[in-house]
Point group: C2
Chain length 266, copies 2
């Protein structure tokens, strides 16, 4: 699979179920659209040890790109920079460039620097600060061996703006021409367990094409959602790879007395 | 914190961002309502090695309850039972009680047993099958040292029904009389970084009460959402613990020229 990506989302509000992890999903989607596989998403709370071990474990698993969200603000439970520093065994340093970004943000609002604000400019040694176009807290990027660690804020609007600005180019470089191509189908009149043996054969003979069935029910009526995807360098290459898998699947379902039709989710 | 809970959600559809991890959030909410802390949520794909290591790592971190969702169905990428067996170093065995559950499910639909259906009854040695009141695949529970591992289906309706049936009593036993009590506020006219030093003092002097600020913006207007929570054995105990923290916070915000008012999210 080549390059491996892990996402770490921090925040007690994610661990106690107050809010859904939309940041994790959004980043995962962005990566997979480029044909890049996210290997794991980890959610930890605002605890120094837990964030630091999540980072260390991702490095130990050989992740090439680790994207962290949350914990960059001014409050005492914002501790991502300290946790990354600890995971990499580096000291935390006041970064002059980051300090300038923070200072400018508050200056425009006519507000002074304070120790809590200065804290947002303390980064792991050797980290590059990443400009935050909409909020106060800079993100940062650290290179550690082959791995790149990118820390972004948890506020979704800030996270997304900074992702496009700073992570987009990294993904483009990792992906090259690749992209993910996908198709959705609905199948009626056939159960997942009826399809299982055929799916096993299909995925063995077409390892490049990913097929996944999801059983659904609506008003008591059972049906399957079928997702077919592949990674290719062009739409025509993707069509070539997926076409006969889709045909074979459709014929097999007809043979079992069911029917399959394309659909667009949402 | 005493008892520690980890959630593992499996499924490629979560890792490529096709769907949000609603199962993880729902389970986390259920646990935290009982005053039980979820320490980590891990999302991995349908890969035997990845699911097995996620389980092993949670055990190594000393989790007492590990709740896994997904991967119990009949298709070849449903491999949670095998992954748990591998993590615990136990063989996978055809479980007679589980087999009976699966057989009965299909019998009611007038459908025969097949190898793909039988696969859903293959559980780690020593596991108890958990009845699935709405779907075909049984869940299972394994005790391993002090840790309990519960595997539930990924289909949300089945997962929720089985959670209430089989995990609810475990949580009740872990929680005793405890529950989480919480309150939400909005604060205007004050920035998060202005509050930071006071919050630090407040959380040091009131370690039992959790206070978290979330910066928000609406039509360009900046405000803070403030979440205050505690774990207590009764509503009156919770009020006693939280009341003076809320008062102190409100006074401090007024002193800074801002205002704070209660609100109900959603």
């Amino acid at each position: 699979m080549g390059s491996s990506i892990e996402i770490i989302n921090t925040g007690n509000e994610l661990l106690d179920g107050r809010i859904p992890n939309t940041n994790g999903q959004w980043i995962a989607r962005r990566c997979s659209e480029k044909g890049l596989a996210v290997r794991r998403i980890t959610v930890v709370g605002d605890r120094l040890d837990d964030v630091a071990s999540a980072v260390r474990e991702a490095l130990d698993r050989g992740a090439e790109l680790i994207i962290i969200t949350g914990g960059l603000g001014p409050t005492p439970d914002d501790l991502t920079a300290e946790a990354v520093a600890r995971a990499l065994n580096r000291p935390l340093r006041l970064n002059e460039e980051a300090l300038e970004m923070v200072r400018r943000f508050y200056e425009e609002k006519g507000q002074p620097m304070t120790p809590a604000r200065e804290k947002m400019a303390r980064l792991p040694e050797g980290a590059w600060p990443l400009r935050n176009p909409t909020g106060a807290a800079p993100g940062f990027l650290v290179q550690h061996g082959r791995a790149r660690i990118v820390a972004l804020p948890g506020v979704p609007e800030e996270m997304k703006a900074m992702f496009e600005l700073h992570v987009g180019p990294i993904l483009a470089e990792m992906a090259g021409e690749r992209a993910r191509y996908e198709a959705y189908f609905l199948a009626y009149g056939v159960r997942e367990s009826d399809l299982a043996p055929f799916l096993e054969k299909l995925s063995r003979t077409n390892p490049d094409v990913y097929v996944k069935t999801h059983p659904r029910a609506e008003e008591g009526r059972y049906y399957l959602e079928i997702y077919v995807a592949t990674i290719a360098s062009s739409a025509s290459e993707a069509r070539r790879k997926m076409e006969h898998v889709i045909m074979a699947l459709s014929e097999h379902i007809s043979g079992l007395g069911g029917s399959m039709m394309p659909y667009r989710p949402e």
